[in-house]
């Protein structure tokens, strides 16, 4: 039988994979892909809590919907920033975007 812990461990696994990708990737768009994985992991944890701890309240699912809204906004603005950087510097390599590095 599948319990709350199964969903939480799946969420932890997806979050860790996304965390590795965010820290280790060179391509800025690959970093955005990994951020989407992280947000999905959090959504799985919220939906799992909503299903197993407060099954009649649905608060966790409301939070998950708001996280999706914020994720859509984040992907849009992130891609716009990457486009602007690509136009001015000709690359989306995150290790070479060091304009603000002191």
């Amino acid at each position: 039988m599948v319990g709350l812990e199964h969903y939480l461990l799946l969420s932890a696994a997806l979050f860790s994979i996304g965390l590795y990708g965010v820290l280790a990737k060179r391509n800025a768009i690959a970093i955005l892909l990994c951020i989407e994985i992280i947000l999905n992991a959090v959504n799985i944890a919220l939906a799992g809590f909503s299903r197993y701890i407060t099954p009649l309240e649905l608060t966790g699912q409301v939070f998950a919907i708001f996280i999706m809204v914020v994720a859509a906004a984040e992907a849009t603005v992130g891609l716009a920033i990457i486009m602007a950087i690509y136009r001015s510097r000709g690359s989306v390599d995150a290790t070479k975007i060091d304009l603000m590095k002191w």
């Binding site: 599948v2 994979i17 391509n27 892909l33 990994c34 699912q61 409301v62 919907i65 994720a71």
Partner: protein, 162 residues
């Protein structure tokens, strides 16, 4: 029983899709495997009896965000240079592994107060009451709309030709 089998299949597909995103050398293929992982996560929502959330997942993530990211990959022409890692590959792997271990320890050692009540099915109506009804999240819904508008205007302002 069917729920258990479905959960395991979907969980394995989601984890494999996420792993392919970080392992594959081609950014375009990484984006396609991200779509696979997102579809599997929508199935996970179905096993959690969150049917509205599964529909929104397909609409927003699989339908909109993944297409946006694929267009971004095509426009930046970095596909041939590949999905390489930077010099922090091994520290990042260790960080992720330690983080996963800590999360597993916390999740398995916390005494969750699991309720035995069957969940609400379908969830669309109760969710609408929760979002728009009295004592609901109506202010947050309005703020989310303003946030999306601000994000769209900001994206247009940043991405257009000067």
């Amino acid at each position: 029983m069917a729920l258990t089998i479905g959960f395991w299949i979907l969980a394995v597909v989601a984890v494999i899709g996420a792993l392919l995103v970080v392992v594959l050398k081609d950014v375009f293929r990484a984006a396609l495997s991200l779509v696979l992982a997102l579809v599997a996560v929508a199935g996970i929502y179905v096993t959690l009896s969150a049917d509205f959330l599964a529909g929104v997942q397909i609409l927003v993530y699989v339908g909109a965000i993944s297409i946006l990211l694929i267009i971004g990959i095509m426009l930046t022409r970095e596909v041939q240079q590949g999905n390489t890692t930077n010099k922090f590959r091994i520290p990042a792997f260790l960080t992720a592994l330690v983080f996963f271990g800590v999360l597993c320890f916390v999740f398995l050692s916390t005494p969750w107060q699991v309720s035995g009540v069957d969940p609400l099915v379908p969830t669309a109506g109760p969710l609408a009451v929760k979002l728009f009804g009295e004592d609901g999240y109506i202010l947050t819904v309005e703020i989310a709309g303003v946030l999306l508008l601000a994000a769209i205007i900001g994206a247009i302002a940043m991405a257009r030709e000067k």
